[in-house]
């Protein structure tokens, strides 16, 4: 009953309008190569400063869901993934386009994205409250070891090199120690600068790392003109295509949700795993790579399956499921809401509204995807020199408007240059942002635990849930080695 009230709240014209704008904006951002979903959410975050929490979150979710779907448009029609999450879609998608069946592929990807996203949203609604109840029993040691688990995952999955992923993660941890000490309240690493007393603001940092650094990369390397020669008129999928793609989409939706729930594993991984599983379970795996329906439906349902899945640990534990969720933690905090189990007791209305908007946001990109594809194709072919400068200005506003402080703009610019160098040094950026959120949580809960145990580390090993997370952390650290061994023994790639 309460949930239906939330659904009505979300369907109020003022919120729905904001969501429609978000969804369309998200699809466009996702479809533009070089603009990612997390960048879109960061870039448009400033628009939500003045909104209430419900409207703001509804808009951000619409952007993020839309962007993950939008990436498939370019992956199929141009053969370049619009977002990293649609790289797996490209494998089959461009084969369809080469056969002149771009429209058919878009139809399958649109519906599969919606199926995956909706399964994920439903799972969020079912799982999150239960997990929040469980999380209420968590004490400092459990939170500390949970963060440890999240941090190990960041290191083991991100980027091309394990070492560089770890460096990025630890740099994020180091930056997170600037500011007020969580226990004593004294300032740390302010280096005499009053603006650093309360630490670096996460939002300008994220804007610098995700958005402006890309502006600089674009300036240096130039932006290509997207050219779509294929005529796409209608993308409504046929009944036989639907019948073939639905079972795969449903399964991949669950896989995506599960991967989303794991802290720090994002939509790109969800897409590749879904594709792999679909190939392994398929009756005709040899068709994969030649433009087959299942191979297209799986990654699309998988990456959208991740979207709401990543919200599960974010809302219930305050631990982001992926980089976009880390930005959403920032957004919630801006509205005075602290993600975690207490959110479900103190601000249950907002939580229900977020649930309802997750469902609606998925529906919106389905509608706009199916009906407005011709418009999106036109927008994607915009002159490449127009968008980047406007993004630059929006980034400046985003970091300034947070607390009307020019220092934040400066900090954002410095960080963006660092982010720019990282692109060429092949150092992944997402671990930095995830560590920024996890770092303070890890430290304060570790110190609180040690206060409880009078300095003994045994407290982390004697409590079952805490021990469980430690074991998970160890497994995830050993995973790269384990995987190599398993691959050798079984002769397959995992």
């Amino acid at each position: 009953m309460v949930f239906f009230q939330s659904l009505l709240t979300i369907l109020h014209p003022s919120i729905l309008l904001v969501m429609i704008i978000g969804s369309i904006g998200g699809i466009v951002i996702g479809a533009m190569p070089g603009l990612t979903s997390v960048m879109g959410v960061t870039l448009l975050l400033p628009f939500t400063y003045g909104m209430d929490a419900t409207t703001g979150m509804a808009m951000l979710l619409s952007i993020s869901f839309g962007a993950i779907y939008g990436g498939s448009i370019t992956a199929i029609l141009i053969g370049t993934p619009g977002t990293p999450a649609s790289a797996a879609t490209m494998i089959e998608g461009r084969q369809f386009a080469a056969r002149g069946e771009g429209g058919r592929a878009l139809g399958i990807s649109t519906v599969s994205s919606w199926v995956g996203g909706t399964i994920s949203a439903i799972m969020l609604i079912l799982i999150a409250p239960q997990l929040a109840k469980l999380a209420l029993k968590f004490g400092a040691p459990e939170y500390c070891t949970l963060c440890l688990f999240g941090l190990t995952i960041i290191a083991s999955i991100s980027g091309k090199s394990l070492l560089k992923g770890a460096i990025a993660g630890f740099l994020g941890l180091l930056i997170s120690t600037i500011g007020i000490d969580p226990m004593t309240g004294f300032s740390r690493f302010a280096f005499g600068n009053i603006n650093l007393y309360s630490g670096l603001q996460t939002v300008p940092l994220m804007i610098g790392l995700f958005a402006i650094s890309q502006v600089f990369v674009n300036l240096k390397d130039g932006v290509e003109q997207n050219v779509i020669t294929q005529k796409v008129t209608s993308i409504l999928p046929s009944w036989s295509d639907l019948k073939q793609s639905l079972p795969v989409a449903i399964r991949s939706g669950f896989i995506g949700t599960f991967i989303g729930i794991i802290p720090a594993a994002g939509a790109d991984i969800a897409a590749f795993v879904s594709y792999d599983v679909a190939k392994k379970l398929s009756k005709h795996p040899e068709a994969f790579g030649t433009g087959c329906i299942e191979g297209l439906a799986a990654p699309e349902a998988g990456n959208n399956g991740d979207t709401s899945g990543a919200l599960v640990p974010m809302l219930t534990l305050g631990v982001p499921g992926d980089a976009t969720a880390a930005v959403l933690v920032g957004a919630l905090t801006l509205h005075g809401l602290q993600p975690g189990p207490t959110l479900f007791t103190k601000d249950i209305v907002v939580v229900n509204n977020i649930f309802a908007s997750a469902l609606i946001a998925n529906l919106l990109f389905l509608i706009f995807g199916l009906l407005g594809i011709r418009v999106f194709i036109k927008i994607i072919q915009i002159k490449p020199y127009i968008l980047t400068p406007i993004i630059f200005v929006l980034c400046i506003i985003g970091s300034f408007a947070l607390r009307n402080n020019i220092f934040d703009v400066g900090a954002m610019l410095v960080i963006s240059v660092i982010g720019y160098f990282f692109v060429y040094l092949e150092i992944p950026i997402a671990p930095i942002v995830l560590a920024l959120i996890l770092g303070p949580m890890f430290e304060s809960n570790m110190r609180r635990s040690l206060l409880l145990s009078k300095g003994s580390f045994s407290i982390f090993f004697t409590r079952p849930i805490s021990l469980f997370f430690i074991l998970l952390a160890v497994i995830s650290l050993l995973w790269p080695i384990l995987r190599k061994k398993l691959e050798k023994e079984t002769g397959t790639s995992l």
């Binding site: 630890f170 180091l174 004593t184 502006v215 408007a401 570790m446």
Partner: protein
């Protein structure tokens, strides 16, 4: 420049950074009778790990024979960077709208993929209109106090 050399320079920067954070942590105040590990421990632990990772990066880079070359800078990037820095310095005095018009124009020209002769009407129109629209959305509708600067008689 070779990626290998860049990685080595980066490791050096990391070591210096870790050193600064490690030793600066000595200045932190402790509460009298504080029972936990204190505000120093975590940053110091992180600095030590960064130091170790930096050394590991040096070792792996020296071992492998990587000839990949990376171009870090070019003129367009540097002009863009100078534009961004000037934007930051002049933001308050010149104001949001004028700063944005200038920087959008410069960046558009940097990114042009067709002759300026052909593109200038669109380039100019975007440079003039986009900041005004953004000012109307943020400054007027969302009430963000964007600096008016030289145009303070207008906003």
């Amino acid at each position: 420049m070779k990626l290998k050399h860049l990685n080595l320079i980066f490791s050096g920067v990391l070591i210096v950074l870790a050193g600064i954070f490690f030793f600066y942590a000595d200045t932190f105040k402790m509460l009298p009778g504080q029972a936990d590990i204190g505000p120093k421990a975590f940053p110091r632990f992180v600095s030590v790990v960064i130091l170790i990772l930096a050394i590991l990066l040096i070792i792996t880079e020296l071992k492998k024979n990587d000839q990949t070359k990376v171009q870090l800078f070019n003129l367009k990037f540097l002009i863009g960077l100078v534009t961004a820095v000037l934007y930051f310095l002049l933001f308050k005095t010149v104001g949001f709208v004028l700063c944005s018009m200038a920087s959008i124009f410069i960046m558009e020209v940097l990114l042009l993929n067709e002759p300026f002769k052909k593109a200038w009407p669109l380039v100019t129109a975007v440079a003039i209109l986009a900041p005004i629209v953004i000012q109307l959305i943020f400054g007027v509708a969302l009430k963000v106090p964007l600096p008016a600067g030289l145009l303070s008689f207008l906003f």
